[in-house]
Point group: C2
Chain length 268, copies 2
Amino acid sequence: MTEFDDDTRVEAVAANDFAATVTARWNAIGGRPNGGYLIGICAQALRQTASTMGGGFPDPLAVSAFFHRAAVVGPARVVTETIRSGRRLATVQARLLQDDREVMRALATFTDLTQATDRTLILSEAPKLPSPAQSLDPLAAGAFAEITITDRFDYRVPVLPGWMQGRPTGDPSMTLWLRFKDGRPPDSLALVAMVDGAYPAVLEIGEPASSTVQLTVHVRARPAPGWLACRVTTRHVIGGYHEEDFEIWDADGKLVAQSRQLALLAQG
Amino acid sequence: MTEFDDDTRVEAVAANDFAATVTARWNAIGGRPNGGYLIGICAQALRQTASTMGGGFPDPLAVSAFFHRAAVVGPARVVTETIRSGRRLATVQARLLQDDREVMRALATFTDLTQATDRTLILSEAPKLPSPAQSLDPLAAGAFAEITITDRFDYRVPVLPGWMQGRPTGDPSMTLWLRFKDGRPPDSLALVAMVDGAYPAVLEIGEPASSTVQLTVHVRARPAPGWLACRVTTRHVIGGYHEEDFEIWDADGKLVAQSRQLALLAQG
């Protein structure tokens, strides 16, 4: 097993009812479990549930998660619901519970991305990044002890983040390479977690942290093996709330995932 | 009553159970009820439900809708659920049913937008449009008979759409002015419908229609009265699926709503 598959594993204990464990290995800023990691746990239960609806729905296409409470490290339960399946799409819901309290809820539509049509038109470009070998490892000086997710992912950046050197750039946007540190290749399921796998872009405007209210991810294609090129952008901070847009492009230069989250600044 | 309020009205028939009517006045391409209109109906029931959770949650902040089936004109039922309320946010769910079958489901978080903090930073600009008076009415030659939503909204554009003249421009993006034709001022609730109120940008790449799989809208501020400036962009059509990003800026030049939908081309 890889770290991601091991730590997002769910075990069916009844129909549409799964046991899971939120491990301490994906903690983000603040020492709390990363939201994308929680989406990953739900995605495992969602996919198993979608597979009971006909079997032809291996790929998450759209996942929308609402976060109600901070999750904690420890046991969790995922209760799912089948909503609707058709020829092409199956829609399911998951509720992540801890101590019988709902921590987050996700709606998701699954499909088989290999059955998509040929109609393709791309009007944007992959992030322009030096090769990973020519890029910098922002964690070369050591991972952040409390932020265990930095031990799960490798990052490579064209320039070191300003916030990391105590000089936020004032521009909440960035491009970076991302991959699992243990060599697990990306797939459509992992992408729904990876869109929340980098540090928040608002660190570059001097904000210490922010917490996700809602995140939607669209998986646009199955990714090729290798490094993923990411583009992260915040353009509007309004009344303490900000969006963060995250694009993931694969090693073949294909857009494979697109997400937007609405988050609230820690001081908001 | 205004047209929008009248046609999205819901009547509580039991706790968390509402009767509604999908009217024929908001039909989109294909002669079927517009997805944004259906979100508007759900938003009325969601807001009423959120108001039972403490009363301080008048504004939708984030709404994510999944569309399972085509809605039809006629009676509908909206079944809601309270999920979680805190000091600042209340999260609720709505299921829109017709003939006992679920047509769409929406998760939503409500708040009081007037209680937001001052932290604001805007790194983009409102669409650059000539004033509405100096713009063109794309429906001057007459509305589209089957597309009744064109009788509910006024549109003003800097240049007439290429697709409307039989010459799609090849660029699936546009800017336009939008308002309710009957003079109803925009508010936070109407915005969640208005982000789906224009013709799809993919008409400019020669596609006849597309259907929404999933739409998330973030309301960023309460809008000022008057015309709304909209920016609509599709950048990635992949395997028949495409995103459509929609921004709404109010008459004071403030960003008030941001949405993204994933849709499937009719020929996809």
